[in-house]
């Protein structure tokens, strides 16, 4: 194998920008550079481009164009959705329901609200990494304002029962309840599985451009007509008063172009990703013992695989793979002698060893079969090497233990 070979298997962290998307955005830097709020020709040209992009992003999720708010990315979309709705409702009610496996942005936002007096219920995701709609029903209180449950998890890819939760919300509304909204973070799901906001039944939905082959720094929040929220960015009239600030036209244009491609090529892309992922998982099962697949394998995004390698720790594996040109990620972090095993893997009830040994492999449209073969060649060697170092390994295999040696 070529030493300089590079294989990128971290598409859940970010994706390369599609050259067709780059081509679409380029004119908006130098020729069509107007401010979308300006009255003159240059402004009108930029405004028209933003509106076209808005229609494309809306089409990706079955929304109306005027229900799309452009902003800087998934984190900001989650902030506007959760904080925006909670602020609009505070006064009457102060309870919100979320899950234990949300993205760190949602976790952080909820933590902040908790500090300012909100009551937060965090639903379990059980061993399979899937929230139960029945638990939502049980957690509902008369003063619940918002339910925020992600569409698909970013570490293990499990798809959550959004439609069932939405059905509960509809039941509550049918009983005359007004102030109950449902938000879902679809950052990982968009472009990978078909999404339609009317089928899903959510009121708010977060999107991020850089997960679907567009540049970093653009995102969108779907806000269903009739949902009241307080803008988190004030001082301008942009985005129907929901997000002040001059629109980042090139990024928005790119997002629109990427959304269009994602819609047109979704079936092809997800089949491709899934074929590589399944081939990879079959190879791992065949060649490496003592592995645990994390997340319900029948209910996952097609491009993602999360595996715990027993007896070894994820960061060592990550760096060793990196030295061989393979890019993956781990949800755990160890610093200053404090250990933070991936909260998501811990939420599945796995012990610290399994949580620390969890690695995420996420495939993308430009990966090839050769990439998978290369990884399947390198990974078993690296795992074996690290396991040869591990004392946990020996204990498990019942080799002679410390005491026996001590008595020598």
């Amino acid at each position: 194998m070529n030493d300089s070979r590079k294989v990128y298997l971290d598409h859940s962290a970010t994706t390369p920008v599609d050259p067709r998307v780059v081509a679409a955005m380029l004119p908006y830097f130098t020729q069509k550079f107007g401010n979308a709020s300006s009255v003159h020709f240059f402004g009108q040209e930029a405004r028209a481009a933003v509106d076209r992009a808005r229609r494309e992003v809306a089409a990706l999720i079955g929304a109306r164009a005027n229900e799309i708010v452009f902003l800087s990315g998934g984190t900001e979309a989650n902030n506007l959705a959760i904080r925006g709705v909670c602020e609009a409702a505070s006064g009457h009610s102060r309870h919100l329901i979320t899950s234990t496996i949300e993205h760190s942005s949602v976790r952080g936002i909820c933590e902040g609200l908790g500090k300012s007096g909100w009551e937060i219920t965090r639903l379990p995701a059980y061993e399979e990494g899937v929230v139960q709609a029945e638990d939502v029903r049980a957690a509902l209180r008369p003063n619940t304002v918002l339910i925020s449950v992600m569409l698909a998890n970013n570490e293990i890819g499990t798809i959550q029962p959004i439609e069932e939760i939405a059905a509960l919300v509809r039941e509550e509304r049918a009983r005359g309840r007004r102030q109950l909204w449902f938000h879902t973070d679809a950052v990982q799901a968009a472009g990978r599985i078909p999404l339609h906001v009317d089928t899903l039944g959510c009121d708010l939905l977060s999107l991020s451009a850089h997960k679907l082959y567009a540049p970093k720094g653009a995102g969108a929040l779907f806000v269903r007509r009739g949902v009241r929220l307080v803008s988190q960015n004030v001082g301008g009239h942009q985005e129907r008063e929901k997000r002040a600030g001059t629109e980042g036209v090139p990024g928005i244009v790119a997002f629109g172009a990427a959304a269009k491609l994602a819609r047109e090529e979704m079936a092809e892309r997800s089949q491709h990703d899934q074929r590589l992922r399944d081939r990879f998982e079959a190879g791992v099962t065949e060649r490496i013992g003592n592995v645990v697949f994390n997340g319900d394998r029948g209910r996952r995004l097609p491009h993602l695989s999360n595996i715990s390698f027993r007896f070894i720790e994820g960061e060592g594996l990550l760096i060793s793979l990196d030295l061989q040109g393979i890019a993956v990620s781990t949800g755990s972090a160890c610093s200053s002698g404090t250990l933070e095993p991936s909260p998501v893997i811990r939420a599945l009830g796995r012990n610290d060893e399994l949580a620390r040994g969890a690695i995420r492999f996420s495939f993308g449209k430009d990966n090839t079969e050769q990439d998978v073969e290369y990884v399947l060649e390198v990974l078993p060697r690296v795992v074996e090497k690290l396991r040869a170092l591990s004392p946990l390994n020996r204990e498990e295999m019942g080799r002679r233990d410390l005491e026996a040696i001590g008595q020598n």
Partner: protein, 128 residues
């Protein structure tokens, strides 16, 4: 040191570090060991086990096993290289700083790995 510089160091491991990670020295058990030490970092669970073969006050052979983040593995590997062939007395004087110098430094948030290695060495020597 300015924060940005610390961050930069934290993100990059030295070449010596990467080499030890890719090719650990003296890994595994030592069949004829007559001293062994094992320490666990109670907070993060990192573990290091050191086997020594000591003859006439001299460390003839050293091997290690480790579980934990890369600095822990690398410190185990470097430690065995530093003590092999030395007298027990010299090994006793080895400090965390010597270890850090040998591996080209560690980001401050990872320096506990070097401390674990020195503790394990002391435990092993105590068991002779």
């Amino acid at each position: 040191m300015p924060l940005w510089l610390l961050t930069l160091i934290a993100l990059t491991y030295s070449e010596a570090f990467k080499d030890h990670l890719a090719n650990p020295r003296n890994a595994g058990e030592l069949a004829n060991a007559n001293a062994v030490g094992e320490e666990t970092n109670p907070v993060c669970g990192d573990r290091l086990r050191l086997y020594l073969q000591v003859k006439a006050g001299r460390i003839e052979a050293a091997r290690f096993l480790a579980y934990g983040c890369p600095p822990t593995l690398v410190c185990g590997s470097i430690l065995t290289e530093l003590i092999k062939g030395r007298s027990v007395e010299e090994a006793t004087r080895l400090t965390r700083k010597d270890l850090l110098a040998a591996l080209g430094g560690l980001p401050s948030r990872k320096q506990h790995a070097a401390a674990l290695a020195i503790e394990t060495l002391r435990a092993a020597i105590a068991s002779v």
